[in-house]
């Protein structure tokens, strides 16, 4: 659907019943891949919500004290334990990579191949750094005796929720990093300028793919915002 016909449609709240009741495309002016990514992210939101809600329920119903997260996740910096230091750095790294991704999307739409490619590459490096720090955090806790069934700090449920939630999020980041590297290569090769057909699809490449990839990456950052608040800070 082209923009000129979009402009003739009702705007604001009136557009909702109009768009949905038209027996045609519901998401007008939204590329189908983008709509599908949003639907996927919605379902992913429900999965992560179920994890966080079960964590809330488990933590609320245990009669043993919950481990003090700012002590468990503290890191020695020049001999002084700094609470949540690694988690804070991870948060800043992920936000930085989210920012570079937003700029990559912007430069993609401006068809600035070089800038777009480098910003996607920077995003991938940020994601890789995050996964690396998470691997360090996991091995540190495992060395300290944290297991899914018990830990030396407090309530036994702590370990299972920690490994489940951060592991599932880390998997998302890892998959994102793989796709970021693939897309950086595609951008540098000029696939999106020439409209080269993709490996899995016969459809022509378009810079809207960068925005779709960006949606996924921002979602990973969004989930971390909630994990950081509920699991680490609460």
């Amino acid at each position: 659907m082209s923009d000129s016909s979009l402009e003739n449609l009702p705007k604001g709240w009136k557009s909702v019943p109009n768009d949905l009741g038209s027996d045609q495309t519901a998401f007008k002016g939204v590329q189908w891949g983008k709509a599908m990514m949003w639907i996927f992210l919605l379902s992913d939101t429900f999965i992560f919500s179920c994890f966080l809600i079960s964590y809330m329920k488990g933590r609320a119903s245990t009669v043993v004290d919950w481990p003090n997260t700012s002590e468990v996740f503290s890191l020695d910096f020049m001999g002084v334990p700094v609470p949540l230091l690694l988690i804070a750095i991870m948060t800043f790294v992920l936000i930085t990579s989210s920012g570079t991704m937003a700029l990559a999307v912007k430069y993609g739409y401006e068809k600035n191949k070089k800038m777009c490619g480098w910003f996607i590459f920077a995003t991938a490096i940020g994601g890789l750094t995050f996964v690396g720090m998470q691997a360090y955090e996991w091995s540190k806790l495992i060395h300290e005796g944290v297991r899914p069934w018990s830990n030396p700090f407090g309530a036994g449920q702590f370990g299972s929720y920690f490994f489940m939630i951060t592991g599932f999020h880390g998997t998302h980041v890892s998959i994102g990093v793989i796709f970021l590297f693939i897309f950086a290569r595609k951008v540098f090769r000029g696939d999106f300028d020439t409209g080269k057909r993709g490996f899995f699809t016969t459809m022509k490449s378009d810079y809207v793919s960068i925005e779709i990839l960006g949606l996924y990456w921002h979602f990973v950052d969004l989930v971390w915002v909630f994990i950081f608040a509920f699991f680490y800070l609460w």
Binding site: F27, V63, A102, D221
Partner: protein
């Protein structure tokens, strides 16, 4: 033919982007808000103050990411509505599980502690 040209023109128009300033502003804000939420732990605020500050910064960050980085602010209302209304179901689920959690801890205290 003229229709094709018009569509092509429109396609070019639809790829118009937002100014770089808005992204840098949001980026900076996210950094500041993350710093503040880290400070909540640093100064060891406790109780209601801690929880409300955590939630406040969390929702502000989530809102900024969704509205500007994920472009929801500029999307058509239908997509925004389809995405955001299901969140009320999650809120209901949270409410149910808070009640359930309270009941579980109550029965555990009764049987584990008082039962001994």
């Amino acid at each position: 033919m003229s229709e094709n040209i018009e569509i092509k023109k429109n396609k070019e128009k639809s790829t118009s982007t937002h100014k770089i300033g808005i992204y840098l502003w949001i980026w900076g804000l996210l950094f500041v808000l993350s710093f503040f939420s880290y400070m909540v732990d640093w100064y060891q605020f406790q109780g209601l103050l801690r929880w409300s500050l955590i939630l406040f910064f969390m929702f502000l960050k989530a809102g900024l990411i969704m509205a500007f980085f994920m472009h929801l602010f500029w999307e058509r209302y239908t997509l925004v509505n389809v995405l955001l209304w299901p969140m009320t179901a999650i809120a209901c689920f949270v409410g149910l599980m808070v009640a359930e959690g309270k009941y579980t801890v109550f029965t555990r205290l009764i049987y584990f502690v008082l039962g001994e």
